[in-house]
Symmetry: C2
Subunit: 416 residues, 2 copies
């Protein structure tokens, strides 16, 4: 079979499954998710063996990439726990979002329905396979999974286990469709299947995002970079500010919602920055500061223009002393990526202005940007943090994986 036929066949299998899956009862979906979780645990050896094959072929990868690729017994337990969490969440399908009556007597309802077929294009982490499959299944969507070629044995094994357990529990064949051909041209072809795939969610680095945006004729919900700022106002509780700033940078620096640039009001910079920078230093954080920052503490490298606006994803922090809130807002508007932004202040007017003016998926007052997360927000779990401005923005849970349909109940109404 040529590559085009292969891709169309895969996408068609998902499309056929999607129509059936849309009306599968919640109880069947939940039982399937539980059975899939059990199967992952029972077939741990098979998954670890597949992962060993991927790792053996991963000589040229960086240590960080190998780390993301590695599957452990603990990782498998976490995937299974994730599936059980999704089973426990409410089913969004069928929910009546709104309902109203028109003067002519007709009743209009807006109800949640699955989107249809969701394509996930992702890089090395094999746990995305189970997370994405479970969220799409629970929200009634068929999923087409296209993982990184370096994880193909691991992903194929996870999908095999999920499909076997799922189909036994009543999930239609094709509901979880895995692209098992690592040929790079397959991704381009997949992105052209707009009659068959309804939305593409890319998970990965900037190169992947650019590739998807330029190739796709299917709508894309981007999961792009986070250049997140924390602004410490002159009126901040400085003890709270120090804890939040430390948490936002250090707790898990490789994530999109970690702080990359710290902005500090000049009035409190001299008292606030030296102890905080010392604490960062002990935690191994490299500081790239503006001249005022450098004058306040030892060991600060001068920040280059390119440091503002860089997503370090590492123990590196850009620090700038600003004259006031307006300068902070301008800096964020110029260098931010509209992901997660925070102000630390006791001044309610400043907080209100920050909330109003900052254009980002999530804006925080007196909290760590690291809290921008589906689980932390109470959405149960998330498929990711959307940096798109349409359909869903910020943490995306099950609801955000649905579309809507209008239902109209009439008694003979006509268009006049």
């Amino acid at each position: 079979m040529n590559l085009t036929d292969y891709v169309i066949q895969k996408a068609s299998e998902a499309k056929t499954a999607a129509r059936k899956l849309a009306t599968v009862p919640t109880a069947v979906k939940n039982a399937a998710l539980s059975a899939m979780a059990d199967a992952l645990e029972q077939r741990e050896a098979e998954l670890l063996e597949a992962n060993t094959q991927d790792l053996a072929a991963a000589d040229r990868l960086s240590a960080a990439a190998k780390d993301r690729l590695t599957l452990t017994a603990k990782g498998i337990q976490e995937m299974a726990a994730g599936l059980r969490d999704v089973a426990a969440l409410p089913d969004p399908v069928g929910e009546v979002i709104k309902s109203w009556k028109r003067p002519n007597g007709m009743e209009v309802k807006k109800v949640r329905v699955p989107i249809g077929v969701i394509g996930i294009i992702y890089e090395s982490r094999p746990n995305v396979t189970a997370d994405a499959a479970s969220l799409c299944l629970k929200s009634g969507n068929a999923v087409v999974l296209r993982g990184g070629s370096e994880a193909i044995q691991s992903n194929a094994a996870i999908v095999r286990v999920l499909i076997e357990a799922g189909e036994k529990a009543g999930i239609p064949a094709g509901a979880i469709t895995f692209i098992d051909n690592p040929d790079r041209r397959v991704s381009s072809l997949l992105l052209k299947q707009d009659p068959l795939i309804d939305v593409i969610i890319p998970r990965g680095g900037e190169g992947l995002m650019r590739f998807v945006a330029s190739e796709s004729t299917i709508p894309v919900i981007k999961h792009d970079k986070g250049v997140c700022h924390t602004y410490v106002d002159a009126d901040a509780d400085l003890a709270m500010a120090a804890e939040i700033c430390f948490n936002a940078k250090v707790q898990r620096p490789g994530t999109c919602n970690a702080m990359e640039t710290l902005l500090v009001h000049e009035k409190i910079a001299a008292s606030f920055l030296p102890p905080l920078l010392a604490r960062y230093g002990k935690a191994g954080v490299e500081i790239r500061g503006c001249p005022k920052t450098a004058a306040l503490a030892p060991g600060v490298s001068p920040a280059a223009e390119s440091d503002w606006g860089t997503e370090f994803l590492d123990l590196i922090l850009a620090v700038k002393v600003v004259a006031n809130l307006d300068e902070a807002l301008d800096h964020i508007a110029r260098y931010g990526s509209q992901h997660s932004e925070a102000i630390i202040t006791k001044n309610e007017a400043h907080a209100a202005q920050f909330l109003q003016d900052v254009d980002a998926a999530a804006v925080f007052v007196n909290a760590s940007t690291r809290l921008h997360d589906g689980y932390q927000f109470g959405l149960g779990t998330e498929i990711g943090i959307s940096t798109s401005r349409i359909h869903a923005r910020g943490a995306m849970g099950l609801e955000e994986l649905t579309s809507t349909k209008y239902i109209v109940l009439g008694t003979g109404q006509l268009r006049e």
Copy 2:
């Protein structure tokens, strides 16, 4: 200036305006919309003169296309009335959609914000210019308008009037940005401005939809064709069914929500179809029927396979007698375009099955598909009827022209 620079400059002006427009108060937007409505009426002569120029250059257009292009005094009054209607609608920006508290004490709110910059690519009808500009303005979005080259003088004149009145009333320059270069390559370039334009809404025929889907690197909300069915069940109120079927086909056949195929249960076909087909005949409707339909009434042309699934947009109707609800559902799944579908029945179980199984933007019980419309649904007005499955599906009003932002109010919360 070369074309690329021209397009980037236009899109940048809109982007700059969008940031300002996002925080313009409701009262200012409403006063601007009123002033714009007044200005359209006051400068009627200027608009009609521009339209005369377009019509003079439109020799090669069909009569229907010329009709769509023609602007009349009545049409200008309707545009002005449309602007005043939009002024009277509630402002969606700032609405708190949801608000909840997490166990760690942080308060999360999901609030409506403008999307940013909306690109509208449309064909000949000049009234789209005023409708789209007003809806985007009220929802806080800057708009980039790219109309058909055959309407360029009319569109330019409308935009000139709107901008002058709007800016005097406090709307930032660039909020309504008009692409005044008719070069066809400009559309392709516009569709690549993904850092500057947030969403594209195409309004027009299939050729435009295909062009936009293949060229755009910006998310697209499609407004595509409607192949709408009405299924008359064995348990229908036949008098009601006849009125609905006549309305759905004849009231305005050139619209996307008009019925294109009538499906009739075989048990009632012999009593239901002959009088209805006679009435259609008097109204000038050409019937293309299945053999069973042809056997029931004179003057029925045999339906070709291609008639099922065709959007006639004209006084032509395909008619098929089906054995039961399941055959009707299968026919709709195979030939429908997921736009607007109706069942006429007194049987609640059949209605429920139809509502559940039919995958369409709007599904009707005992009402005309022609009612799928923002105004009819009570949304005030609409930018169109989305056939996309993400962001907005079906009738799109002001709410559907917004995005969201999470607001988090904390007291020092960290990520554990």
